[in-house]
Amino acid sequence: MKRTLQSLAIALGLSFVSIAPAQADATGDAALAKVDEATNRAKTQYLEYEATVKAAEKADRKVELAVWLKGDKRLSEFLGPADVKGTKVLILSPTQMYVYLPAFGKVRRIASHTTDQGFMGMHFSQDELSITRYAALYEATIAKQDDKTIDLVLTAKKDAKPPYPKIELKVEKARNLPVEMRYFGESGKLLKTETRGAYTCEKDVCAPSELSMTEHGKAGAKTLLNRRKWKVNEALSDDLFSKRNLEK
């Protein structure tokens, strides 16, 4: 019964895409559209992460995982700790997901409600990481800008149902890279702050190698993600994103 394991993989699988060279724009929506364009440029990606989960008065915990991305398809595999090693999650669509649990030797269909589950206390969740295209969900206004950054305030579009009604997004102006996201709840309270930094690029595709998520209201609650490997636009067979591959 380790089906909760997939949530982290889902989250990571839906995010951490790359960013491209910047163009200035006068309106917030246009600036946001550029962020979307830049963050959805890679055709395929392979990433390996080491996550460090921090909590007050507790020892740090480590989680390692690998993620393969191709279009809407994602495959994640836990590499550690040992008790979850070998667990794989395949996402073919938001409503078609599978988990392979080595202890059971079986591929199990999982439903999208499981994306609400946490995993080992990690503070990244499906809610914030599933947003790959902000412009579809939010309207943007420019709060301020200088030579290096633009601060956008994103508010939910009328008919959209985004996980957060408001996000403050700080964008690196030169390359349209998001560097900080502040997530607010219905009451306007700041719930989480995410940072993305130490970007590296392969041609026109960039991705952060260091990420963090701080959960406000829980003292010391923070998760750090360090990227260990990254491959962009290498050929990944569709076979990789199949139930057949999960069982192997």
């Binding site: 909760t4 909590a55 480590k62 700790p81 008790d83 269909r109 439903a111 050929a235 067979s237 569709d238």
Partner: protein, 598 residues
Amino acid sequence: MSLRARGDERCRAARPRRALVAALATLACSSVASRAEADEFAWDASFRVESDVRFRLETRAVGDAYASQSVIAGVERNQNLLGVRLEAGIGDVKAVAQVDGVIFGYQTEIENIGLLTRPEETQPWRLDINELYIDVREFVFDGLDVRLGQQIAAFGVGDQFNPTNNLNPDDLRDPLLFGKLAGNFMARADYWVTEDFRLTGVLVPLFRPAMLPPSASLGPAAIDRLPFLDESVRWRVASERYAAESPLARHPTQISGTRVVLPDASFENMQAAFRLAGTVAEQDVALSYYVGRHDFPVPIANATRQVPGAFCGAPSFGLLCADGRLLTDVTLAYPQMHVYGLNTSGEIPLSFLGDLPGLGWRLEAALVVPREQRISLTNGNFDLGLIQIPEGEYDYDGDGRPGGGKPPLVVRDQAYLKWVLGLDYTFASSVYVNAQWVHGLPDEFGAGDWLIGDDVELRRGTLDGDRTGAAIRCALPRDGTTCIREMVRPRQADYLVLGVDLRFLDDQLLTRVFTILDLSGYGESYYDPELGYRRTDHHAFFTPEGFSAVVYPEVSYNFGNGLELSSGALLQFGKSYTKFGDPTAGGSVAFARARFSL
């Protein structure tokens, strides 16, 4: 990184699906390096150490004044396990071994002092080879995967209850691992027609039976649970047994031995399965067929002999004494069956209720067509005082001549259904709920439920009145109708399985409660002298007589570094004739466990 992940990353991208294309692509793309890398030897290993101590909370006994078996309150098991999983491969070929070495329990009796020099006597251990196979991908044809060796083929989508998982035997040695399958040698081939659809064929040359829990050894003491489907035969045999115990005969019946007959290693006895699985409109669907055997044995022969000589029961029963015994040797075998399976699972959207994620659902159904199985009853020469019975076969039709009529059925060749219908959902991120309606547990075999068939499973047979009366009223006239009171249940019963997971302390603390509630209730069948015929009173599942349930609470803490500590209890409730109150189910246990994976 695991072996498979490495192979996929490096190699699959350059691997076309069709042979002709493969040749061209090998020339066209610069995959030489990838192939070379993918064909490198790679291996992976993981280990698990587990220590488990359990306490049985109550003594459970089966039997009567003359013969009883019990499992006592105290240490139920203390086992330590080393699990090793090794994978090694080159390119598309992989070998896998998963082996558990278990040091378990102790023995209360050692036959002679010389055996004290043998460590396996004072510290029993066993080796479970769960998987030991070779896997070849793209074998001869593109899309064809072959796996040979000791393996587990689990196709069912149900959680822990899988009526379509018949290729591997159930491993019930540890009730906390309910639903576990034991490895078995088989040859399996999967042909992937597309990425979504596959055909699977499996051949299992040798049958392997289910492995039962230690408490199953109590079963033979429950001699009142006669397996005959024909109730008139059941009542007659039961009344004759009570008559033999009466002061007129003073010969109680006991099971002296059980012999389990495995199928011959013939071509006809090989098991096979075929399966077509795919995805339609994002819902997974699979159809399957299995031919083989039920992995729980049923009795096929009872041979009873009279053993003269004074015999007294256990002191705890008041030192009842008899002039002799009727000892029965039981032969058990595994009945043949065909199983047609349907597995389907998917997601029910709840977006019409608001911004809610989908609800998981799964249905696993099996149409089981068993082969008829009868039981032969034979006896030696009986001299029970008033009654003399010559050696030979039982007088099945009660016409006074031995051997008349057909041996009674224990399994009817009537098709029946088993199924699991499950739903699961997560509330508020940390509350996971899993509910399943299970129709028929793995050990339940044969038609008889609210859908198909009237056959029942006898759970307890007792005598109305005294034994001498039974001899006169029922045994001598060969009609037990008025003497025997029975507690019965459907042969395929219904259960509600409900599980809830609650997570705390940043997901490190898991509190889990699983329950199994027997919904079918129990029928009490007896002769009503006022009415002049037998009647059956139904005791619903919510009544004290019909209630039977399992409650399995567990708390575990995951330290995040591979170490997990857990503690809990498996609590079984119900009268002794019920499914879970049955002493052969092992009784309630409490446990504590430490597990470290590396």
